[in-house]
């Protein structure tokens, strides 16, 4: 029996040793030029940043920005055509997929923070979200302090969980955390009274409320738990590629085109249901459009 266990372990080691053999072929720019194609990582339901419309096509604010980056890339490499492949990513696999070369440009809804910067790099911040909570209007809840002893929903594996935990510790408030496996499930917990509040990025909350069965029943309230810069993600240690991406994003910001894109996705009706988020641009993002930056979340929240 022990011999069989040993065989299993050694087989595992062989499989795991294989990645070490793979070689990294220099730079994304070279890869794009040689292959004539670029792979965009997309999310399937991060409204309105990156999601699938009713024709199963990836759309959203970040998808459009990425398309502009690809245009800039084409001009930079003097290529007449560049094939774009879309690969769906999840919050679990997006970082491994960028590091292992599957995805060149992740156009999703990824928070730029210090821990992630050890693995990957980010374009200048193109969206800023505030972590707050959604409640049912009828509950009358206005602040986090009213949640003591009550069930509060959040999504598994998101930064909100850490924020709530840190908040609990400082203020001696005891939440009962309940977890949804994704945002729609966590919202369902609020909708079905499994939780009295849902703590999450405010743009996502706004999107979920607008598309819910009774949008007028919900309201976003309470203090801002964290400010999070959201950005397009790329491979680390590839300065030539990052320079092209950064310049493309900065050009969009300088020309004012990014304001038009913002208005299209946050202030006007969007697919698939044709509802509008009515989510005006925050002062923080206006500031970042004037002076672009790829600083991580920690830079905004140090007290």
């Amino acid at each position: 029996m022990i011999r069989r266990a040993a065989a299993v372990v050694s087989l595992t080691l062989v499989i795991l040793a294989l990645p070490a053999l793979a070689q990294d072929a220099g730079g994304t720019l070279k890869k794009v030029r040689d292959s004539g194609s670029i792979t965009m990582g997309i999310r399937e339901s991060s409204l309105p940043l990156s999601y699938l419309d009713d024709k199963q096509q990836p759309v959203g604010y970040h998808i459009e920005i990425c398309n502009r980056i690809v245009d800039a890339l084409k001009a930079h490499l003097k290529m007449s055509a560049l094939k774009i492949t879309h690969t769906p990513v999840t919050s679990q696999n997006r970082i491994p997929l960028v590091t292992n070369g599957t995805v060149d440009l992740e156009c999703g809804s990824t928070t730029n923070n210090e821990a992630r910067k050890k693995q990957v790099d980010f374009a200048p911040t193109t969206f800023v979200t505030n972590v707050r909570m959604a409640v049912k209007k009828a509950s009358g809840i206005k602040s986090l302090s009213e949640l003591n002893g009550k069930p509060v929903a959040t999504t598994t594996g998101t930064t909100s969980v850490q924020l709530m935990r840190a908040h609990e510790k400082g203020k001696h408030i005891d939440f009962k955390e309940v977890y949804g496996k994704d945002h729609a499930d966590a919202f369902l917990m609020l909708e079905t009274d499994r939780a009295v509040a849902f703590v999450m990025d405010d743009n996502l909350l706004a999107g979920l409320i607008v598309t819910s069965k009774n949008p007028n029943d919900y309201v976003i309230v309470g203090e801002v738990l964290n400010i999070e810069p959201i950005a397009i993600m790329l491979r680390k240690d590839d300065p030539a590629f990052k320079a092209v991406v950064d310049d493309a994003v900065k050009a969009l910001m300088k020309s004012g085109e990014i304001d038009k894109l913002y208005a299209k996705w946050f202030m006007n009706p969007i697919p698939p249901k044709g509802a509008s988020l009515n989510f005006p641009m925050s002062d923080k993002l206006k500031e970042l459009i004037k002076t672009p930056s790829d600083a991580p979340a920690e830079a905004y929240n140090r007290k």
Partner: protein
């Protein structure tokens, strides 16, 4: 929740159809590939060559002891390093399921082969058939026939297990339902729809297997 809003079923149908086609393709490829590789593995496990049978045994034990969802994740991360290029979620899912199900089909084929009476082997050898000929013409046909219902039942399990490809973002039926549920914010309605579809398909298959069981059984 009170009221359900089943109007979301209508725009979801093209998504569901594409997802279902992928699910079926994945099931069929993984089944045929899995049975072939599984049979080879079973032969390796039963072979008198010790290293061969040990490696096959280790492979089967490893696959059977790790949750499928983790296997799917590992293959997705590791395949690009072996193939040298990313292969995409769909191809990765097909490779993973074939490799994973092979371990289960191997166990079924092994008991199938062992269920063939020893006298059959002796008789075949006495008639002058070689070892390989005996295996191909005498043992395997009977083993497959004995185990056909079990092989198909495993395939129904496989059909349901394909729902786990959500972990790498391949778009199967459940994933398609999930996306529509999220983008329209109607998760419950979509989960009910997928439950119905899975039930109808699996139940019909399982009735078919029962029917088959009656007709192919070898009477001794």
């Amino acid at each position: 929740m009170g009221e359900f809003d089943f109007t979301v079923w209508q725009p979801s149908l093209p998504f569901i159809r594409d997802g279902l086609l992928f699910t079926l393709r994945l099931t069929l490829v993984a089944m045929s590939g899995g049975i072939v590789i599984g049979t080879l593995l079973a032969l390796a496990r039963l072979s008198p060559v010790a290293p061969l049978s040990r490696i096959a045994g280790a492979y089967v034990d490893l696959m059977r002891s790790v949750p499928l969802v983790l296997v799917i994740l590992w293959f997705f991360l590791v395949i690009p390093f072996i193939s040298g290029a990313p292969v995409g979620a769909e191809t990765s899912a097909i490779i993973t399921f074939t490799a994973f199900e092979a371990a289960f089909y191997c166990e079924i084929m092994r008991s199938g082969i062992q269920s063939v009476p020893r006298g059959q082997v002796d008789a075949a050898r006495a008639l002058g058939l070689g070892q390989a000929q005996t295996m191909i013409h005498v043992i395997l046909p009977q083993a497959v026939r004995n185990m056909l219902p079990v092989l198909l039942t495993q395939t129904i399990v496989l059909f349901q297990d394909t729902s786990l490809v959500y972990a790498i973002g391949a778009k199967d039926m459940l994933k398609a339902a999930d996306i529509v549920g999220k983008n329209y914010n109607r998760p419950v309605e979509m989960i009910v729809l997928s439950a119905l579809i899975y039930f109808v398909i699996c139940f019909s298959l399982s009735l078919a297997v029962k029917q088959l069981q009656k007709t192919v059984a070898i009477i001794r």
